[in-house]
Structure formats: C-alpha cells, structure tokens
C-alpha cells in the first residue's frame, strides 16, 4: 500500500473496486449478467437465423424461379401465353439501361436478360431459354439468382434429357451448335421440363437473333402480398424507367416470397424490442436494487471527499463490465442456439450458418453502452440523493 498518494496510489483502482464490489454482491452481478446474456443471445440467435432464413428464401426462390417478367410492350399477349415467351424482341442493352436507372433496385433486383424461342430437337419441339449475366444491386453483396450457364453448356429439362437420353457430361447438337450437358434437371411438373437452358450468346446464335432479348427476368423487392397491390407500383416504375416494356408478375411466387420476407421482418420487429426491453428493464431494476443497497456506501464515499465523477464511474463502470461479460456470454449462447437449431430450421442452407465475428464485435460495443444507459437512472438518482440521510445516526 502506498501511503501519501491516496487510494489512487494503492491497489484500489476503480476497476479493482468494481470487481470487489461485484464479488461482494455476487447474486446481483450474476443476475444482471444472466439478463444481459439472455438478451444478447436472443438477438444474436435472431440475427443469425434471420440471415439464414433470407439465404434459405433466396435459395428456395432461386429454385422456384424469378417472379417478374419484363417483356416488350408490343408483345402479342395471346402468343405470349400460348407459347410461353414473347414474339417481340428488344436490344440486349435494354437490361443495362434499366439497371442504370436511379433507384431501380429499390423495386427490382436480379435483372437477367433472356432470349426464348421454340426449337426442334429429336423429332419434337422444346423451348430454348438463353440466360445472360444477372445484374444485382451494387449495394448488396448478394449472389445472383438463377442458373449461371457458361457458353457451350446446357441445363436440360427433365423431358428433354429423357428424350435425348443424355446425362451430365454428354454432348448434343442444337441447330448445328454442339452443347455439353452440365445438368439434367429433376422433374418439375412445369414447362421447365421442356426447356433447354443455355447461355444468352448460344441462344442468340441458335435463334439467329444476335444482341436481342425478348424478356428480362427479375425479382421484385417490394415484397408486398397481392392484397397490397404491388403490380400497379411495379408498372409505374417500368413506365418511367423503360417505356418500351411492360411487366408481368407471377403472383403465386411473388406472394410466397413476400410472405416469407414479411414473416421474418415481423419476427425481428417483435423480438428485437422485446429482447432490448427485457434486458434494459432487468439490468435497470437490478442496478436500482444495487444502488439502494449501497446508499450508505455512496454517502460514505461522499463523506470521504470523493466526487460525483468517481462515484458515477463506480456505478456505471460496473454496468459496463457486466455488459462486456453479458455480450461475450450472450454471443456464445446465441451462436450455440442458432447452430444447434439451424439444421432443423434450414434444410438447404444449414451449412452456411456459422459464428459471425462481426456480431461479437457489435455485441461487445453495444451491450456495455446499453447496460450503462439502463443503469443511468438509478445511478443519477443515487448521486442526487442527500448523502447525509444515509449516514446520520438519529
């Protein structure tokens, strides 16, 4: 013990005082840590599972296909519905024109140029679908949806593959062009079974329509269900951005996607304030009890000449330390819960669910601040209370 330098020169640093008080009132400290741990664990697990749900949705939707079809405005709709594609074409650059429109990705995403046409193959007809490079919002690091098909390769619908009796790695000829089967798709029960998917370049060559497309496939970002009338909004945007085109929405797919998205958002909207409210109330209540129990001690520190700053440091420093501990424990618990529940919740993307170090840093930064804010009202009250009242004998 260093005498003459005050307690600041002794072993009694602020941290040491906080830790000793913590050990003395260990039940209060433990309960506070548990409260923060639960709140952080809920948020971490929610964040991880929401992210996984989004990935899962994206994968499921990718398998389902795009839900918007942007076609030339002059398309004969009888022909379109009869044949499954537009009889009109537009320049391939149209997709870039659309993507370059300011704010377009608020409404549309995963813009994929396509050229479709009927072709004869092995004595029957099939629909050739050439898919170009997908353009995604530049602000999102999302993987493009849809197939990515290299030139010279083809994905074959189930019926086509059966008709040609080919499997992955085999080659076949289409209008004089040799293509290698990259994938034989499983039976879908839709017209996909009759389709041949190739790169846009190959389809343009086969259909003799260089640099032309007859459709832009896309996903809508509004995520509104049918009763919320998303189509009129989509049409308004296309009318302004691409007057030579019109948009069709595959409502069943769009609704499924919107519902999934809205459910995840609703869950987050309820669970986040619930976790924050629970954590804040819990820590605030325990801080109040702690301060109440320490009234005489606080009065004594005052009598010894310690100022409000040091006392606030004692009270709020404890909250900060509890916050750090709760953040670390909550991150571990939340991550563990999400990883444990992942495989049963997300069949397709369970493996992509993994601990996110960014969530740990965020928890370590925000939880102490949150705990300090929750402890602030009782701390301020303790500092404002008359210290003499807790020290007097009569």
């Amino acid at each position: 013990m260093v005498v003459g330098q005050g307690w600041k020169g002794s072993r009694m640093t602020l941290l040491s005082l906080i830790l000793r008080e913590w050990r003395h009132h260990w039940i209060n400290a433990l309960l506070s840590t548990v409260g923060l741990t639960i709140a952080v664990a809920l948020l971490v697990a929610l964040r991880m599972t929401t992210g996984a749900a989004e990935r899962e949705t994206r994968r499921v939707m990718r398998d389902l296909g795009f839900n918007l079809r942007i076609i030339p405005k002059t398309t004969d709709m009888d022909y379109f519905w009869t044949h499954g594609f537009s009889d009109q074409t537009m320049p391939e650059s149209t997709v870039r024109t659309l993507a370059d429109q300011s704010g377009i990705f608020v409404t549309f995403n995963h813009l994929t140029p396509a050229l479709e046409g009927r072709v004869a193959l092995a004595g029957a007809s099939a629909i050739l679908t050439g898919l170009g490079e997908t353009i995604v919002s530049p602000h999102e690091g999302r993987q493009p949806m849809g197939f990515r098909i290299k030139p010279g390769e083809a994905f074959l619908g189930h019926s086509v593959a059966q008709r040609l009796q080919v499997k992955k790695g085999d080659t076949f000829e289409l209008a004089g062009k040799k293509l290698r089967v990259e994938k034989a798709l499983s039976e879908s029960g839709t017209d996909e079974d009759l389709r041949i998917f190739t790169s846009l370049r190959d389809a343009q060559a086969v259909l003799q329509s260089p640099h032309r497309i007859n459709e832009i496939k896309a996903i809508d970002c509004l995520c509104l269900t049918a009763d919320q009338d998303p189509l009129s909004k989509l049409r308004q945007v296309i009318e302004t951005a691409l007057p030579e085109a019109k948009v069709l929405q595959l409502r069943t797919l769009a609704d499924a996607r919107a519902r999934q998205r809205q459910m995840a958002e609703k869950m987050a909207a309820y669970a986040t304030p619930l976790a924050l409210g629970f954590g804040g109330t819990w820590v605030g209540l325990l801080a109040w009890l702690n301060v109440r129990e320490r009234r005489a001690e606080i009065g004594l520190w005052r009598a010894l000449g310690h100022g409000s700053g040091r006392l606030a440091g004692l009270l709020l420093g404890k909250a900060v330390l509890l916050g750090l501990l709760g953040a670390a424990a909550g991150f571990a618990l939340g991550t563990g819960l999400a990883l444990a529940a992942g495989p049963s919740l997300f069949q397709v993307t369970a493996k992509s669910l993994q601990a996110d170090p960014q969530l740990l840093w965020k928890a370590l930064a925000w939880t102490p601040l949150f705990a300090a804010i929750a402890s602030l009202p009782p701390a301020l009250k303790a500092l404002a209370d008359d210290p003499a009242l807790s020290l007097r004998a009569d």
Partner: protein, 225 residues
C-alpha cells in the same frame, strides 16, 4: 488568544414531514477553536447529527452559513467542497460505515481521497496503534463492533485532518472500546487536531474542553472545562 477553526451563524434546517416540517436546526450559531474537543449532547432527534453533518459540508442548511478559515462552505462549488472535506475533515459514524467489500487496510486507505493538508500517517502505524494489525486483511463482517469502530477511526485519522467530526462514535460500543475511541480522539487533539463529537451519553465529559447541550434544534447550555 484561541484561533478560530470554523464557525457557523444562524444555521437552520427543516426537513419535510407528514403534516408539516421538522425544524432540526433553529438559528444555531457556534464557533469552534483550533485544538478544541467539543462535545454536543442532547436527546435523540434534537438536531445534533444534523449540526455535525452541516459542519462537515454534507448537509446544506436552509438558512445560515458555515465558515472554515475564510471560506463559506456552502458558497463553494460541490467539487471544491468535496476536496475540502477530503483534505480537512475525518468523519466517524455510529454505524461505522465501513465499505463491506474492502479489507480493513483498504478501508483505511479509502480515507485518502485527495492529497491531505498535512503529511498522511502510515496505515501500518495507525493499525498498530489501534491494535488492528492482525485484522488488516479482514473484511468488516469478520470484525467485532469495537474493531470496526477502530478501523473507522483509523480511516478518519489517516489523512491527518484538521477536524474530526464524530457522530455517536461510541453508541454501539462496550465501555472498554468506547474508552479506546475517546482516548484516540483525545490523542488526536493533543497533536493539534480539533474534535467535535455528538453523543447522548455521559462518559465523554472528561475528554471535552467544551460541552454543548441541544434541545429541539437549539443550543441551550454550554459549559467549558
């Protein structure tokens, strides 16, 4: 001629109470000379603890002033008043008010909040003189009442203050420990310190240079040895 350490003039303090207010101090004026041992006596609730805490800069009076040296205590900003208290005043309380999670040694060290006005005393010597050396590492809940009060006294003495304010320091002690406490306070006075003790007992009179009696917030009698 005696040198004034502190004085108070026209001190009044009222506390809110159901159906009105309680007048804890009523126009109290007092001058404390350097080196005095002042005992303030009176029944419970007569205002003596309030007077002590007001003299120590802990309780702002409703009216009146407290002057220490040339400074009017309640005219100082709170931080300055804290510093003054940390340098000049040692408190001893009836309920000891030791910090429960600190050892005896660290409780004593906690009395050194600021650089004291005089050279601080050695904690080891203090603990030794108060027969607490073997309890230095003990927590307060492991001590007897007498040991706790001696530890609290060591905390008040360690900064070598000008003034010790003791609120019923022997109220929870047996006669032997009470005698030790008063002997130590008396010894502090003999080294130039000033002591103001509040008590409702009678055993302090031999140590007092002056005794004041309070009733209903007023000083009603005064005797000097």
């Amino acid at each position: 001629m005696a040198q004034s350490l502190m004085s108070c003039t026209g001190l009044s303090r009222a506390f809110p109470a159901p159906g009105g207010s309680i007048q804890a101090l009523d126009e109290v004026s007092l001058r404390v000379e350097r080196g005095e041992f002042v005992v303030i006596k009176g029944p419970s609730g007569c205002g003596k603890s309030t007077l002590l805490l007001t003299l120590g800069g802990m309780q702002r009076p409703t009216r009146g002033s407290v002057v220490f040296g040339d400074a009017e205590l309640y005219g100082l900003p709170a931080t300055e008043r804290n510093r003054w208290r940390a340098r000049e005043v040692g408190f001893v309380f009836q309920l000891f008010h030791l910090i429960p999670y600190l050892s005896v040694r660290d409780n004593v060290a906690a009395g050194l909040a600021e650089s004291p006005s005089k050279t601080p005393r050695s904690i080891d010597d203090l603990l030794d003189s108060l027969k607490l050396s073997d309890r230095a590492r003990s927590l307060p809940n492991m001590l007897s009442a007498g040991e706790r009060q001696r530890a609290a006294l060591a905390r008040a003495l360690v900064k070598n203050p000008s003034l010790i304010l003791a609120d019923e320091p022997t109220g929870n002690l047996d006669p032997t420990n009470a005698a030790i406490v008063f002997e130590k306070l008396s010894a502090f006075r003999e080294t130039g310190g000033t002591v103001v003790v509040v008590t409702h007992g009678h055993d302090t009179t031999p140590h007092a240079s002056r005794t004041l009696e309070m009733e209903q917030g007023r000083i009603v009698r005064q005797s000097t040895r």
